[in-house]
């Protein structure tokens, strides 16, 4: 059963890469990379169980963190880039309280 789950995750990773190459806009590609990262976390955990080495879970945790930080980094830096070239992206929303 674990091997079946591993194969399923490999298939999904290939699908995500296809979207990453095809995706028309930048955000499609960021989404594909994010999905690839979370699937890698699962893949490493499963591989650790298949090969009987539970130390792999440390790597899985690092991947989850790194994936998150990279996506947040891309989003914040593309914001900063647009602000540099077009002025600030959005005016702060006014609350009426």
């Amino acid at each position: 059963m674990i091997i079946a789950a591993t194969l399923a995750i490999l298939v999904v990773m290939v699908l995500a890469i296809i979207r990453g190459i095809v995706g028309p806009s930048l955000y499609d590609r960021i989404l594909a990379v994010n999905m690839f990262g979370t699937k890698t976390v699962l893949l490493i955990s499963l591989l650790g169980f298949v090969m009987g080495r539970p130390e792999f879970l440390d790597i899985a945790m690092v991947y989850a963190l790194i994936n998150f930080i990279s996506v947040i980094g891309v989003l914040r830096l593309s914001d900063a880039f647009k602000a540099k070239h077009n002025g600030p992206v959005v005016e702060p929303v006014e609350r009426d309280s």
């Binding site: 650790g48 440390d58 790597i59 690092v62 900063a80 880039f81 540099k84 959005v90």
Partner: protein, 311 residues
Amino acid sequence: MFAVVMLAGIYGLVSASFFVAMDAVDVAFTEASVGAGISTLLMLTTVAMTGRTEHVARHKPLLALLVVAITGGLLIYGTFDMPYFGSADAPAHNHVAPRYLYDSIKEIGVPNMVTSVLASYRGFDTFGEVTVIFTAGIGVLALLSVVRRPEDEAEMEAINDSMHEKHLILRVVIKTLIPFILLYAFYVQFHGDYGPGGGFQAGVIFAAGIILYALLFGLSAARRVIRQPFVQLLSAIGVLVYGSVGVVSMLNGGTFLDYSVLSADPIAGQHLGILLIELGVGLTVASVMIIIFFSFSARSEYQQTKAGKSL
């Protein structure tokens, strides 16, 4: 170019996956944190500074493509002669590797053999690596440091405060996550003797946590937390700790970086030595990564305010 950087990130993840498949846990750990994490972040910062599209090349680089293809073909041809993966009579498995494998537990007593090779048998190499990282940090500081005037800083603070509403959810979630990330970095640092980990990976994870804070709360808020002189001092202290372990070994009668003479029992001496130098490595790597990111980011903000003024 953002897409190119993201694809490079995927490449880092894929290579870490096949290190995992080859059962090389420490290498996969380092590749995950450095290759897929920090490299992507630093390249993204650079792309944000320079520009999103590259200049269209004026000529088609056909000659370069040909040279690359021929070199790649020759390299692949060269690998046909290499011994099979894991074969017992490969030269890599015959000279020092058996000695490390058989004697490491007796001489050093640390369960993770990669750490024992990295920190004790090849400790001098690791000293060179730490010095290289420190030099890279100095280089970035020398080239990219920006003198920030108080009015620029006030302006950036105003922008960051005004974006608070926009990023509220992210800020709240990240405030909960960052202590965990830093704690995990400490765990990786000190658990490097028993599982995958060690100084390099721990330093990178620590820096990644601080970078996350700086990305979302603004550079000036992050600078208030991690002051620039302090972090520069820390990077030098890391290298100094490493070197002084070697000098203390010499003062105790051994050779440079011979940990067995550091305490009465040689195995305890090895443990103490490995602990201290991993600490030094972790300090230097973390502070140099933070320095590099802050320098890039400060330069990018400086360009932003200059562009804003000239508009």
